[in-house]
Symmetry: C2
DNA sequence: ATAATACGTATCCATTCGTTTACGTATTAT
DNA sequence: ATAATACGTAAACGAATGGATACGTATTAT
């Protein structure tokens, strides 16, 4: 039975811990692939594939400089995550509020 | 070769679109499994498995009432996602700012 | 007591994922 | 011209994922 169409959202991009680490690193500025590969002690092709996912989901962009390719953070799509999580904020704030008043009444 | 230790973070919980839909539904209040299964036109065991993932990652809690089990949203862990995404906010706000000034200067 | 309901779990299967090794290509250094 | 560098891609593989069907168990209805 064919599986439902795969998730092409940014949530898939950030599902993998290595990809999140790559994004965290890119917040400090663009980086070439080799630097990322050595930083995460994984093979270069592995990182390349992660970067491809990030690129296709438009969370990073690629720019060629000679034989290097600089990957740059493109955070616009990450806003979808922030927007999705926003309505939940009320809930955990309410929970914290409940805990606070609970503690105060003890 | 064994894969690196699997991601047990809340990011895995929200990686799947069905699980996100379940969470969205639970924001309106606790629900039994059958209601969720019919809402998403998937088999009940499939939903049960998703709920198990959500339960293990502490994004929902389960409570037995007779033969029903009510699943309730536990949003505390989702705060990790909000915290993770927070530093990126500056970036996309900067991008929007650049776009704004770009448009204003044309 | 028996039947129906609400659920979890076991098993199985196809697909996807993350990783590695091997290879090809473009660019720079000698 | 040749060698070295920086990278992407192909192929292969085991592990994990998402789903379905079949089954077992506890609870409620008759």
């Amino acid at each position: 039975m064919p599986q439902a169409d795969p998730d092409r959202s940014v949530f898939r991009a950030i599902a993998d811990p290595t990809r999140r680490a790559i994004l965290d690193r890119l917040r400090q500025g663009p980086a070439p692939v080799n630097e990322l590969a050595s930083a995460f002690s994984q093979s270069r092709p592995a990182i390349s594939k992660h970067l491809r996912v990030l690129r296709e989901l438009r969370v990073v962009s690629e720019q060629k400089y000679g034989r290097e390719r600089l990957y740059r953070l493109e955070p616009a799509e990450l806003k979808d995550v922030a927007d999705w999580i926003l309505p939940y904020r009320d809930f955990w704030q309410a929970s914290l509020g409940n805990l606070k008043s609970y503690l105060e009444n003890e």
